[in-house]
């Protein structure tokens, strides 16, 4: 029975650490985003509170806690109160299935660096990610405000549309790893990251997640120029902070998920001819399991920078084009990608030759160029009509 008790304690401690890491990550992600955006826009960004502005998140948190919380007079109070919670909770509990490393030995027992090892980890991720749309649409509806309502409806339509290609773009990963367990997916990438085998799938997944977490250029639900702030127009104080928190935590989670599915998760980001050099062999996760979370952290930071970079560069896509892009380009393309991947794997198994696996990226990129050519044609048609 004593082992049961320690198991519970281990889980509890790991969850607490994970939640605090996420909260701290959220706080410093805001700082990171503001600094990175500022540098891209040749500004400096927050640099007043503490060295390099590192205390800025704390100042922001204090401000948000002490701000007045307004509830619109005609709002549906209960749902209005519930919506931020419904948004935040999924964004935290997705983190349960993310493996941050293999396992370490601590106090004479083996401690795994992940909270839950579900054999259908991908399904868990997909379903929890889909739940968070409820919070947003309920927030939009219960505010009893037109802007918030429109933002919530846009969010629902957008999330449902992009959920589809998000899910289909994951099928090649499942096929390649032959498993839905996160650990298996990571371990299957020890020879080659899936982004090399399925680059188009990675790109589709990346675009779909951008839409899924309402980041630019798909930040339609909270387009401040059109909808003042979208679904959270009527929220203030801590309730608004919860939405903010959910958004940034989802960014972290999604980057971690992308790192796991396509960039080798906690595996070392070096090719084997480097780690085979004897004095560099400590870089391998096999030899030093504590490096797993470090590699994960580095990958997440790089992917987060990519998100910020995209936000700094591309303008918001128009709503009808967003829908056309989702349904007419991403969904068919991801279906074709699934077909190509499955064919490649079957051929490799049939002829017992792994070279067929490398047919997958070549064929996918060629197929991926078809929608590009289609976009080019339609752009040219538009410019002819204007002329």
């Amino acid at each position: 029975m004593i082992s049961d008790w320690t198991l519970w304690l281990e889980w509890f401690i790991k969850s607490v650490i994970l939640i605090f890491a996420l909260l701290g990550g959220f706080a410093y992600l805001t700082w990171y985003e503001r600094r990175a955006l500022a540098r891209i826009q040749t500004r400096i960004g927050p640099n007043r509170a503490g060295p390099f502005g590192l205390l800025q998140p704390i100042a922001d948190a204090v401000k948000l806690i002490f701000k007045e919380e307004l509830t619109p007079a005609k709002a549906y109070k209960f749902v209005f109160f519930l919506a931020p919670i419904l948004t935040v909770v999924p964004s935290i509990i997705i983190a349960a299935v993310i493996p941050w490393g293999r396992s370490i030995n601590l106090f004479g027992r083996e401690i795994t660096l992940y909270l839950a090892d579900i054999n259908v980890g991908i399904l868990y991720f997909m379903s929890i990610a889909a739940i968070s749309v409820y919070g947003i649409v309920l927030a939009g509806w219960s505010s009893n405000s037109k802007y918030a309502m429109l933002g919530g409806l846009r969010a629902t339509a957008q999330m449902i549309s992009y959920e589809l290609s998000l899910g289909i773009a994951l099928v090649p990963v499942i096929l390649l790893a032959d498993s839905m367990r996160m650990i298996d997916i990571v371990e299957a990438q020890s020879s080659a990251w899936f982004v090399l085998i399925q680059p188009v799938g990675a790109l589709i997944f990346w675009i779909a997640t951008l839409a899924e977490i309402n980041r630019a250029p798909f930040d339609m639900p909270e387009a401040e120029q059109e909808l003042t702030a979208g679904f959270h127009s009527e929220y203030s104080g801590m309730k608004f902070a919860l939405f903010f928190m959910a958004e940034y935590q989802k960014m972290i989670i999604v980057c971690a998920i992308i790192a796991i599915f396509f960039f080798g998760g906690y595996l070392e980001p070096f090719p084997s001819f480097i780690t085979n050099i004897s004095w560099l062999s400590w870089l391998k996760v096999d030899n030093s399991p504590l490096l797993g979370p470090v590699y994960m952290f580095i990958k997440v930071v790089v992917l987060l920078f990519a998100m910020i970079w995209v936000r700094a560069t591309w303008p918001r896509i128009r709503y009808d084009r967003l829908m056309e892009f989702g349904w007419k380009i991403l969904v068919p393309l991801s279906l074709v990608i699934v077909f190509i991947t499955a064919t490649g794997i079957l051929l490799a198994a049939e002829f017992n030759n792994n070279l067929f696996l490398w047919m997958i990226p070549v064929a996918s990129v060629i197929v991926g160029l078809i929608p590009v050519a289609m976009v080019y044609r339609s752009l040219r048609r538009i410019s002819y009509e204007r002329a």
């Binding site: 891209i40 040749t42 400096i44 995209v310 080019y376």
Partner: protein, 172 residues
């Protein structure tokens, strides 16, 4: 144009933003590091003095008349040779500008016959209550190099009879 253009253009955009990370930020660290204002910048008003320390303002209220937002209030009093503030008969005993009303149009500057009021380069005009938005004559008046230049001054009779200085070239 080539077929790959939709992708190429997107990547070019990304390259532009990535390049700008290396550029020097344009930020001024404001309270420590202030930006030079332009030559014709219209900031807070300054009431000028002549070289001998006498005020240029003669209390004629033309600035108050020219002010489109009615921000200036002038009250004039008589100069005497024992207590002389400005050349001529009268000086401004009260001169107030309501900075909540001022729109920094510079009409007062144009209207002034003695070039006494000038829009300076001070743009730090924050205040926390309405009463401190009213800038008095003491706040607006130019500072003097030494006590001897302070107004009122005791002068010889007949020295400063003319309130508006003579122009060097009247056709100018």
């Amino acid at each position: 144009m080539s077929v790959l253009d939709p992708i190429v253009e997107l990547v070019r955009g990304l390259w532009v933003t990535l390049k700008s990370i290396g550029e020097k930020p344009v930020t001024f660290q404001y309270p420590e590091e202030k930006r030079e204002v332009r030559q014709r910048f219209r900031g807070r008003h300054v009431l000028k003095r002549y070289d001998n320390g006498l005020e240029k303002c003669i209390g004629c209220s033309l600035c108050a008349a020219a002010c489109p937002s009615d921000a200036i209030f002038v009250e004039a009093s008589e100069n005497t040779n024992e207590k002389r503030f400005s050349p001529g008969e009268r000086y401004a005993s009260t001169y107030e500008i309501n900075m909540l009303r001022c729109i920094f149009c510079g009409y007062c500057e144009d209207a002034c016959p003695t070039e006494a009021i000038v829009l300076g380069d001070n743009y730090e005009l924050s205040f926390t209550d309405r009463r401190s938005a009213i800038y008095t004559k003491e706040m607006l008046l130019e500072s003097v190099p030494s006590q001897a230049f302070l107004t009122p001054q005791k002068v010889e009779p007949g020295e400063f009879n003319r309130s508006v200085p003579e122009m060097k070239d009247p056709r100018d």
